[in-house]
Symmetry: C2
Amino acid sequence: MLSRIGVHTSVDVLFPPSVLRDALSDVEPTVEIVETAADLDECDALVTFSYDESFLDADLDWIHSIQSGVDRFPFDRLERRGIALTSSTGIHGDSVGETVVGYMLQFARRLHVHRDNERRREWQFPPWDAPFTLPGESLCVVGLGTLGQGIARRADALGVDVVGVKRTPTPVEHISRVYTPGELQEAIADVRFVAVAVPLTDRTEGSIGADEFGVMREDAYLLNVSRGGVVDDSALLDALRDDELAGAALDVFETEPLPDRSEFWERENVIVTPHAAAANREYYRRVGALVRENVRRLDANETLANHVV
Amino acid sequence: MLSRIGVHTSVDVLFPPSVLRDALSDVEPTVEIVETAADLDECDALVTFSYDESFLDADLDWIHSIQSGVDRFPFDRLERRGIALTSSTGIHGDSVGETVVGYMLQFARRLHVHRDNERRREWQFPPWDAPFTLPGESLCVVGLGTLGQGIARRADALGVDVVGVKRTPTPVEHISRVYTPGELQEAIADVRFVAVAVPLTDRTEGSIGADEFGVMREDAYLLNVSRGGVVDDSALLDALRDDELAGAALDVFETEPLPDRSEFWERENVIVTPHAAAANREYYRRVGALVRENVRRLDANETLANHVV
């Protein structure tokens, strides 16, 4: 039975610690905002954005990451200390799905270029053969987890033919054909949009690179919401320079924040969002719901939801 | 039986005259590009964007407008000369519908602000409580013709609760409640988005003004694709200045092009698109299909599709 849950001040990157604390006012344990290692001593659980070495020395039973990605946590050492780690995977399907169909509509309806023109006070109709509509167009979603399915459902609803790539190529709702990772190039060769939404692993790192851009259509758009490293940024830039692709919308980069000198910033056909595809004012409520459920499970001695180690 | 159809060079605003001529290569009459009044003499039908007085003196039986709006044509005088006028209404539901849900996603996912930041090479995460997702949000579509239905279908598909305003309040697919024009203020008072998609008529001119902005929610967005004059631009600007609304996406204005000095250009929470919501590289094909159908109907002595006078 937990007695005290800390909300680490690092969650402030995504929402004020106090709103999560207040959202958890109905759970049995005390919930308090913690900032220093000393504050940690009283806690047996911690909800956090960042990882700090001091977490290992505190007497914690459980750490919950408010992000889906947990690669910054030292799994082995946590396990040795008997500290359970849980993630916030599974709560971003709608926010990321909407951001990605937003990218598709920006490209199709030229909304990004209209915004550029607006800032210059330029009333400029697009070239007659530039704007298009989504029905009849196609999308390949690489990775069909929560994010990929959130993208696929919405693109399908807007009339796009959606195919996908998935380790186990079993049928998935909204996906007309599921390919294996070995068939990646075939899957992306003939579509208008490629959305990359796989976790960063040894297998996926650098898996979208020069060879993949080489097989894509010249009028295709790459949409990336995978963690930095899945897409080879420098190969992508080469492909864009050589007009091998029509454009890209990128939420994540190998180096973040994106360096000031990066050419990605200045290209009209590149849409940059600052790792904010999942940003959502409801984020804290969803994290709160995960924490509440795991408080219940710990109490009932059940397996934790989103258990990592 | 028509012998010669002219494609007026004014269509060039939306597509090259030659692509429409070529798309109509299968019809019985000769199709030729016409530029001057002299060229007109040989034609008995004309496909055009703009109106010119010389059209009245030519020996035309039929004029087809490549736009939906035909208010620039002199109905009475055409009728007296026995010249039929047809419009291109009904072909813009998908393009305008996509543009409007694109506006909604720009506001919800902050894509317009990310674009501004991109142009300044600023990596800036949005305020935690600014981005939202569409499910659970609501939209009122004022006007449920082709455009309004195109908007409603797509918003519904993305999980938005859609209500609408229509002269005859009969049930409409994708609309959970249909209001009459007399109930306009009730219809728009409690929604997150108001999309205006009514034709410009004596009844609708200035119908979205200070009183309407006054009843709307402070976190509401106005999305306007009606012809200029339906929305009172100066009342809208006042409402935006006074934070009575969260923002607006505007495709049309009372004065076009939007004057360089207009405050609409510079407001971060105003998205300006240059009367391009319907822009589509397939536009000429759809106009071609309408013209082809009416060539058939003229030949068969049937009532013309999209007949105006």
